[in-house]
């Protein structure tokens, strides 16, 4: 399936499917995702200090998606990098460490520890919609984006990706990140959402509000990817509702060089990566396209 190899800056992937951040999360499961066909995996977002996250319920299914407010649960960057990263690395493919934080120093500190621990790349989560001060607030403020990316880039030699969420400033923020040396932009994270139970007359998630993911957000994510592709020169990585080869191909045509798969792991299992690859490969063959790269952004008209 050499038709499927892609490059994201210096990072080479055997195929364009990447496990999205926050799904599966633990080292041995990331290893399994790689062995079962993912071209790369992203860890859950790590913070400097250990975080309990919110109490349950933290995830619930809805029509065509999931709504979650996990609350950036993690055992702390250092512990995760020591205990889980080595297990993930056994999968043999690239492991991208996602980093979250409230301030520029925090991102830079966890990111440099990740590089030391053997991460293949870092992804800055500037887009979490449900932890105050830890995501979307940064991602939709181009000045803060510049600050965080600059500080992180200073301490890093492995590739740096920046994950942005939906906001009316997504393109401006992405341009700031690119100017500060980001090697790619991931779009998008979940959309602010909530779910109500009419019998309990309560919001189901303990945090009341959360983020919507899955096929329900795909058209929104596609449009973001399309706009980013029009404006950036670094690679765009599409995320939001990818569940089969057709949805992956939609993102690639809109301008994504690779796609991340999150929620579909719940409905399709870990097979989802190899299934997407098989479908994409057949599609490329049928269309007479040598490499998936030649499909990126090739919308007619």
């Amino acid at each position: 399936m050499s038709r499927l190899t892609v490059k994201l800056g210096k990072l080479r992937l055997s195929n364009p499917t990447i496990l999205a951040s926050g799904l599966l999360s633990t080292g041995s499961l990331l290893c399994r995702a790689l062995r079962e066909g993912a071209g790369g995996v992203v860890t859950k977002s790590l913070t400097l200090e250990r975080r309990e996250g919110y109490s349950t319920p933290v995830v619930v299914g809805v029509k065509d998606g999931l709504v979650n407010a996990v609350g950036l649960t993690n055992p702390g960057g250092e512990e995760y990098l020591r205990e889980e990263l080595p297990l993930a690395k056994k999968g043999g493919g690239p492991v991208i460490v996602s980093v979250a934080g409230g301030k520029g120093e925090e991102f830079a500190e966890v990111a440099s520890k990740a590089e030391e621990a053997g991460a293949d790349a870092v992804e800055l989560n500037l887009s979490c919609p449900h932890v105050r001060g830890h995501g979307l607030e940064i991602g939709r403020d181009p000045k803060l984006v510049r600050e965080v990316v600059r500080r992180t880039k200073e301490v890093l030699s492995i590739p740096l990706f920046v994950k942005l969420g939906l906001s009316d400033r997504i393109v401006v923020s992405a341009l700031s990140a690119e100017r500060e040396g980001a090697d790619g932009v991931v779009a998008i994270n979940t959309l602010p959402a909530m779910v109500v139970d009419v019998y309990a007359r309560r919001a189901i998630l303990s945090n009341v509000t959360g983020g919507l993911s899955g096929p329900a957000i795909r058209p929104v994510a596609l449009r973001c990817v399309y706009e980013l592709y029009q404006n950036l020169s670094v690679p765009v990585i599409g995320c939001g509702g990818v569940e089969d080869w057709e949805s992956a191909a939609e993102f690639i045509l809109a301008g994504a060089r690779a796609v991340q798969v999150g929620s579909a792991v719940a409905t399709r299992g870990l097979r989802v990566f190899s299934e997407i690859c098989k479908g994409l490969s057949n599609y490329l063959k049928r269309e007479g396209i040598q490499n998936v790269d030649n499909l990126v952004g090739r919308l007619e008209g």
């Binding site: 633990t26 041995s28 996250g53 349950t56 619930v60 299914g61 996990v70 993690n74 309990a200």
Partner: protein, 272 residues
């Protein structure tokens, strides 16, 4: 699977039954997206409180039964739920017992009888030979003994303090029973007990499936909190029922994870 099937379904409490000083069963009417099979579990949400995993202890075609032991805040509150109240249920989830031709030997310790009584009923409905070994610390904690007998299964009990049956561990009964027939074994209970059950069955060349418990944050296979290392099996998805022999190469009996995902040695005396 469709995303809606991972949603929260309303569950009306039709009946609450005290099974023992420690355990209350709730009979729930809920429009579940699928029929539960023995060994599967549901995530049960007490509105305003947390959501916790509970094995399905019965299914009559319309009503779901769960059997709750008091462990902490949510399970205490669940025991106080009244007829007519609403809970939320996600599921049924996970992989249950693979049930084929018998004879079956069911080994339950404490609340571990919850999934086994459902399996016992299903096997007896199919006319399989079933023997149940029920263990508990003391006689008042023995669970589903009468119900198991009523299915026509042979039942033997044991208590650690000797207050009912012969004194000792349920694994002592197992050692004696295993050589007698080509039993297929199903087990659920404290993890230390399960380790002994699996070791004994492997030694005797008997097939054994065990139902495991781990802290579960989502129950849907997305968060990774319930994973067994180094194999990367999620107890909520690839489990909670596993082939015993395969578990010996994992964290089984050795490590658990806390709610932040930190790995800790299995605490002694844990009920599951």
């Amino acid at each position: 699977m469709r995303f809606e099937e991972l949603g929260m379904y309303p569950a009306r409490v039709e009946k609450a039954v005290r099974e023992s000083p420690a355990v209350v069963s709730l009979h729930l009417r809920s429009p579940l997206p699928r029929e539960p099979s023995p060994g599967q579990f549901v995530m049960v949400w007490l509105p305003g409180k947390e959501e916790v995993p509970m094995s399905v202890s019965g299914w009559d075609g319309a009503r779901l039964r769960i059997s709750v032991a008091k462990m902490g805040e949510t399970t205490s509150e669940l025991q106080r739920v009244k007829k007519g109240e609403y809970l939320g249920v996600k599921g049924p989830l996970g992989r249950g017992f693979e049930l084929g031709r018998g004879p079956y030997l069911l080994v339950g310790g404490g609340t571990g009888m919850a999934p086994l009584i459902f399996a016992c009923r299903r096997l007896r409905e199919r006319g399989e030979r079933v023997k149940v070994l029920v263990g508990a610390r003391t006689s008042s904690e023995l669970l589903f003994v009468t119900e198991a007998r009523r299915t026509g299964a042979e039942v033997e009990v044991t208590t650690e303090d000797g207050s009912s049956g012969e004194g000792g561990m349920v694994t002592d009964l197992l050692e004696r029973e295993l050589p007698k027939r080509p039993w297929k074994v199903l087990a659920c209970g404290p993890e230390e007990m399960l380790v002994r059950v699996v070791e004994e069955c492997v030694k005797r060349g008997r097939k054994v499936q065990v139902s495991l418990e781990r802290y579960m944050r989502c129950g849907l296979g997305v968060c990774g909190s319930c994973v067994l290392d180094p194999v990367g099996w999620r107890v909520c998805t690839e489990g909670p029922v596993f082939e015993g022999r395969l578990l010996l190469r994992t964290d089984f009996g050795k490590f658990v994870r806390d709610p932040t995902g930190r790995r800790l040695p299995l605490p002694p005396g844990r009920r599951g």
